[in-house]
């Protein structure tokens, strides 16, 4: 019996079940939170009718989406069209494998955890491209193309920003990176990298002001114009789960993960610190979305190539020199 619990397979399956349940519930909660944040920023209450303060609203919406017909557009690529929403959710789940929720709460503390998460997050772009292409819709195609163009622009500064942290810790394992922030969070040592990471992460999740692939006022709904029912629902949930993952990664890399500020944990379990910081970051991302207009995609690329990449490169070089000297 004990051997079963200790076995790798058991841990994996248990982890998968927990991850699936958590990611879905979390996404539903985030959708509700987003609507509340948007509402209060705009001086209105947001959902109020279903459940206390509308807490069950997203569940009602989800049920409605499940009940809807999946419409396949004429001349669409049938296989690709249905694979795309699944494909967009897969990397999201992989991300949960390596996220350090607490000192003991990592499904797998791989020595290449950071690499794994960023490698898989790029899949999202592939899914968006597949979905936009398969839809046989002009707006969807434009959205898909924009998504790919945008991907090139933000992935480089994103990784460069992460690299400066990795250089300081000399490890790609999330566990070790969080441990290294026992005294001082990396946001204080690497403020530039932290900021660049957050900006790129917003673009990574296709959130406003970088929601260029789905720019609803330009491209109707962008790459998911033709998706109905749960096809759309999966894209939607993936967006929110993605948001959680980038915020969680930012928390681990720059905000001390499960550690309290400056080594003061106040006796609160690490997982609460971790979730608290992650949700604060998510709130910031939402707050940004409900404040700014959308950037034009060539402006994002200009900003990326002319500002973010040079600065993050310089930051990386300076970090490397200091690490070498100290």
């Amino acid at each position: 019996m004990e051997s079963i619990i200790a076995s790798d397979w058991f841990r994996l399956i248990l982890g998968l079940v927990i991850v699936l349940a958590f990611s879905q519930l979390n996404a539903l909660f985030l959708v509700w939170l987003e609507r509340k944040v948007a509402g209060h920023i705009q001086l209105r209450p947001g959902p109020m009718e279903v459940g206390p303060h509308g807490l069950l609203q997203t569940i009602a919406d989800g049920l409605k989406l499940v009940g809807k017909e999946l419409i396949l557009p004429a001349k669409a690529d049938r296989k690709l069209f249905f694979i795309a929403p699944v494909l967009v959710f897969m990397p999201v789940l992989v991300g949960f494998l390596v996220l350090p929720f607490g000192p003991e709460l990592i499904i797998r503390d791989m020595n290449v955890g950071v690499l794994l998460i960023f490698a898989f997050s790029t899949f999202t772009v592939l899914a968006i491209l597949a979905g936009g292409w398969a839809s046989n819709n002009k707006y969807a195609l434009l959205g898909a193309i924009r998504s790919v163009a945008q991907n090139v622009a933000y992935e480089i500064p994103l990784l460069l920003a992460v690299m400066s942290v990795v250089l300081m810790v000399n490890s790609l394992s999330f566990g070790e990176i969080v441990q290294a922030q026992h005294r001082v969070w990396f946001i204080f040592l690497q403020p530039v990298a932290g900021l660049i990471f957050l900006i790129s992460a917003t673009a990574e999740t296709n959130r406003a002001p970088f929601d260029i692939p789905e720019a609803e006022s330009e491209l109707v709904a962008g790459f998911h114009t033709e998706y109905s029912g749960m096809g759309f629902g999966l894209f939607f949930l993936a967006e929110y789960t993605n948001m959680f993952i980038v915020s969680a990664v930012a928390t681990s890399l720059f905000f001390g993960g499960w550690q309290g500020p400056f080594g003061i944990s106040l006796g609160i379990p690490g997982v609460f610190w971790f979730l608290l910081k992650t949700y604060i970051l998510i709130f910031v991302i939402m707050w940004v979305r409900w404040t700014f207009p959308r950037v034009r995609f060539d402006q994002l690329m200009n900003f990326s190539w002319k500002v973010m990449i040079p600065i993050s490169l310089a930051n990386l070089v300076i970090t490397a020199i200091i690490v070498k000297l100290v």
Binding site: K138, E218, T291, P293, R296, F297
Partner: protein, 373 residues
């Protein structure tokens, strides 16, 4: 598909049908875009989806029966259209409205102008992807609608003006509400400036986007804030003062470059000027009747014709009425500003990006039903 199979190497033009159902075409406008990547090669606006025959309706009913139609062409400046029509018929017939009514009409029209510009501001920001300014603008606009609702009983299609006056007198509460609104707006401009006008993303989306120069504007008959943004200080309220606009002290804001940002700034400063006009009108408003007694609803203007131009929220608007001496106009024609403003797009849109096209389309401030009418 065919051309692809013949010569796969040849470059194809990507035709995008923007509208008639599209989140950013504000009404049922359709623009056919020929694209090369995301660059626009050719833009072809197609209008007429919302044709209801308003002009024809004007020709087969009493002058007074056309009153409700006037606020349904440009539904965002319904009061101004209503006001202009009443002025045109009054001039044709030789009816004079009492002083108090004239002041009330000006206050109502200027409130309507602010509400129209606020709605434009909100929807423009929504076109650019910013949702929150839209709701802030609507919050302010609600105040205006409440004020106008208080006196006219309607929030959008007012039908408030009558030949020889207005249908209902204002009360002290109306004046208090309007004063409170003016005070509120003074504090609001800085909020909009901080949230939008100074925002670097917004400036990048509008600066040097969709430049219309004076000559182009003249060729296409562009009027209103779009023309003033090119640096031409033409405003019918100043050029050919009607009603009592010559009694007020206000400026005609003009832009320099004629780009989307200038159009934005001109509209913003116009709202401030409208507030000034309302403030002066509230100070000067006399006591007295609001409707001339003897005007019948079955008005019979003498034989003649009139072309009466006025400044609606979107530019120079005019009614052309021909009377054959009967109770029904012989000809009723309406000059709408959005028509010229829309067609200049055929020159402005080429060589811009789709994202810019949305920005330009929004900055022009079109109300399609007034073109289709």
């Amino acid at each position: 598909m065919d051309s692809q199979s013949k010569d796969p190497a040849s470059e194809q033009i990507y035709t995008l049908n923007l509208g008639p159902q599209h989140p950013s075409t504000h009404g049922v406008l359709r623009v056919l875009l020929d694209l090369d990547g995301e660059f626009i090669l050719k833009a072809d606006p197609i209008i007429g989806y919302g044709h209801r025959g308003h002009e024809k309706m004007g020709e087969n009913r009493l002058y007074s029966q056309f009153l409700p139609n006037t606020s349904r062409m440009d539904y965002l400046s319904g009061m101004i259209y209503n006001h202009g029509y009443v002025l045109a018929v009054e001039k044709l017939t030789g009816v004079e409205a009492p002083e108090r009514a004239r002041y009330i009409r000006v206050i109502a029209s200027e409130l309507n102008r602010i509400s129209s510009h606020l709605l434009w501001f909100g929807t423009y920001l929504m076109d650019l992807g910013g949702f929150t300014p839209f709701l802030y603008a609507f919050d302010d606009r609600e105040q205006i609608l409440d004020i106008l609702d208080h006196v006219t009983g309607s929030r959008l299609t007012y039908s408030y003006c009558r030949f020889g006056g207005v249908s209902r007198d204002i009360d002290s509460q109306f004046i208090d509400m309007t004063r409170a609104f003016l005070k509120r707006m003074e504090a609001r401009w800085s909020v909009y400036d901080a949230l939008v006008t100074r925002n670097v993303i917004f400036i990048n989306r509008t600066r040097d986007v969709g430049v219309i120069d004076r000559e182009l504007a003249r060729q296409y008959g562009v009027t209103g804030p779009n023309l003033r943004a090119c640096g031409v200080p033409y405003d019918v309220r100043r050029a050919e003062p009607y009603e009592i606009y010559d009694r007020f002290d206000f400026e005609i804001p003009v832009g320099e470059r004629g780009d989307a940002l200038d159009r934005y700034l001109v509209r913003f400063r116009e709202m401030e000027q409208s507030c000034r006009i309302i403030d002066q009108a509230l100070d000067q408003i006399p006591v007295g009747p609001v409707l001339t007694e003897k005007v019948s609803l079955r008005l019979k203007p003498p034989v003649g014709e009139i072309y009466f131009a006025f400044e609606s929220a979107r530019g120079l608007t005019a009614y052309y009425l021909v009377s054959d001496g009967s109770t029904v106009p012989y000809r009723c024609h309406i000059r709408v500003p959005s028509f010229g403003n829309l067609n200049v797009l055929t020159e402005v849109l080429p060589d811009t990006l789709v994202a810019d096209a949305i920005s330009i389309l929004g900055s022009i401030d079109l109300v399609i039903p007034e073109i289709d009418r």
